[in-house]
């Protein structure tokens, strides 16, 4: 049963990859990649996703810890609310952001503080929201699995609650933190709906690789689209593997 289920999943994933190659071969797609726009899109995708994942993680770690350790009134409500971006389609998340920036506080921010709509900053914001929802879920479970006893012992040795968290809980939850980072980054880099909603699709500025893939399909440049898909797959695999390997406990 175990082998069958996993085998099925692996086959499907591999199948997706191979289908890309099977359709257009390898030569044309790879040749189409040697263009500055492609590098630009790839670079943009990686930078923005990393920024989004970093922000998401920075916020998700304390939230997840709070949810895991303290029982406060309305905890279930907060817990469920934080799940929202996972359930709503990314398109809806992006669209909601656009609607927010139309409101009074939103317009104020746009006019006087930072421009988000149709800007890379907006993409980072949208992707961070998506990544956060995923990360907080994974981290909450990871922290729940670290017994409070360890923190108590650390505190009796002189740790403040924050030090106990940093020196004991966090290192012990390391596999979970790595998983959260990986999943969050993956969610961000692969996003299309929210990214294109908030960022638009301006070449060189807000055209990430998933958006570029869509646009290539929209102009029936199928070989290029396949090329971009392969590039995204390769880049993502490389990053995910790297994080996994370095995240392994020594």
């Amino acid at each position: 049963m175990l082998v069958t289920a996993t085998g099925l999943a692996v086959t499907v994933m591999a199948g997706l990859l191979l289908s890309q190659v099977a359709y257009a071969g390898l030569k044309k797609p790879l040749a189409s990649l040697l263009r500055p726009e492609v590098f630009h899109a790839l670079f943009l995708s990686c930078i923005l996703a990393t920024a989004a994942a970093a922000i998401a993680l920075a916020l998700a770690i304390p939230s997840a810890y709070l949810l895991a350790r303290r029982a406060f009134p309305g905890r279930i409500l907060v817990d469920t609310l934080l799940d929202l971006p996972v359930v709503l389609s990314p398109l809806a998340v992006g669209f909601s952001l656009l609607l927010f920036f139309r409101t009074a506080p939103g317009s104020f921010i746009e006019a006087h503080l930072v421009r988000f709509v149709f800007e890379p900053a907006g993409i980072v914001l949208a992707q961070a929201i998506l990544a956060y929802a995923v990360a907080v879920r994974v981290l909450k479970t990871a922290f729940e699995e670290v017994e409070p006893r360890y923190e108590q012992v650390a505190r009796l040795m002189g740790c403040t609650p924050f030090m106990a968290f940093r020196k004991v809980t966090l290192p012990m939850a390391r596999p979970g933190v790595v998983a959260a980072a990986v999943l969050g980054w993956g969610r961000a880099v692969g996003d299309f709906g929210a990214t294109v909603m908030v960022g638009g699709a301006v070449a060189g500025k807000t055209e990430t690789v998933p958006v570029a893939i869509y646009l290539r399909l929209a102009s029936v440049d199928i070989a290029q689209a396949v090329g971009l898909m392969l590039v995204l797959t390769a880049a993502a695999l490389a990053v995910l593997l790297l994080v996994r390997l370095t995240g392994r406990a020594p």
């Binding site: 359709y23 609607l99 638009g200 699709a201 070449a203 646009l215 929209a218 102009s219 199928i222």
Partner: protein, 282 residues
């Protein structure tokens, strides 16, 4: 173990149910979103007239063409502009010469209802502080027409500064205006009819129209019933269909279209991206 068996059983049942519930449609029509409002009505009319089930897909003309190319399915292609029909012919999806022009589109300026920024013409679009949206010129036909409009007026370079975004589809271009994200967009005259509550059209001077766009339709080479596909295309040119199009504000004859342009304005065809655009952007 038990839970897993239950899960598998449920998955299997759902798949069988879904497969069984599907009735293959007699006709699949791929429609560019530019023509969505009238086409929905026309499809229902056609079904009533002929008793044939029609499945209409709406989306970006280019994305749908890619789908047709890869899946080799789809009976009728009804894209948002002749540029895409030319691509379809080039890809061998549509036989050369089999396309018929159904409606005509005039490029115009789309502004929010009430025209808060008082845009009266192309010159106002290059005013400092005006946020402008266009469709992505390389993938969305209305974007290309927008650029050509600005190029013809000699305002393309100046306009570049004001372009806040390039929308990835026709309807997204209109949406940026109705959502208040930009002050104006270079769109089709018909955008104002799509969402009269939030949008209004500012017409160009007849001499400013670079080309009259056409929305063509054609049966594809993958049509399962070529005669039926051809019948649908002809239906789109019928008087009843024209009545529906006109109700929605579309122009059905060249003569009607020329009212907004000059007698010598070219109709349809394709043109490359303006050189000024592909040069360095600010």
């Amino acid at each position: 173990m038990k839970a897993q068996s239950v899960l598998c059983a449920v998955a299997l049942c759902l798949t069988v149910l879904l497969a069984w519930a599907q009735k293959p449609p007699r006709l699949t029509v791929m429609v560019g979103s530019a023509s969505k409002p009238p086409t929905e009505e026309l499809v229902r009319l056609f079904e009533k007239q002929t008793g044939v089930t029609v499945e209409a897909h709406y989306g970006g003309s280019g994305a749908m063409l890619s789908q047709i190319v890869v899946t080799r399915e789809g009976d009728v292609y009804f894209p948002g502009s002749s540029d895409f029909m030319d691509k379809a012919v080039a890809r061998g999806v549509v036989k050369a010469g089999s396309a018929r022009d159904i409606v005509y589109l005039i490029p115009a300026i789309t502004v929010p209802k009430g025209n808060p920024k008082h845009i009266e013409g192309l010159k106002d679009l290059v005013r400092p502080g005006v946020r402008l949206a266009i469709g992505r010129p390389d993938t969305v036909c209305v974007g290309l027409y927008g650029l050509q409009t600005m190029e013809k007026a000699g305002l393309l370079n100046a306009a570049k500064r004001n372009i806040a975004t390039e929308a990835e589809s026709c309807e997204k271009t209109a949406a940026t205006v109705s959502l208040g994200l930009v002050d104006a967009a270079l769109g089709w005259r018909d955008f104002g009819n799509w969402d009269p509550q939030h949008l209004q059209t500012v017409l160009l001077a007849p001499g400013q129209v670079p080309r009259i766009a056409t929305i063509p339709a054609a049966p594809t080479v993958y049509a399962r019933d070529p005669a039926l596909a051809e019948r649908f295309v002809l239906f789109l040119q019928s008087p009843e269909a024209r009545a529906v199009f006109q109700k929605w504000g579309y122009l059905c004859t060249v003569e009607e279209a020329r009212r907004f342009a000059l007698p010598q304005t070219p109709v349809g065809g394709s043109a490359p991206l303006p050189a000024e655009w592909t040069e360095a952007k600010p």
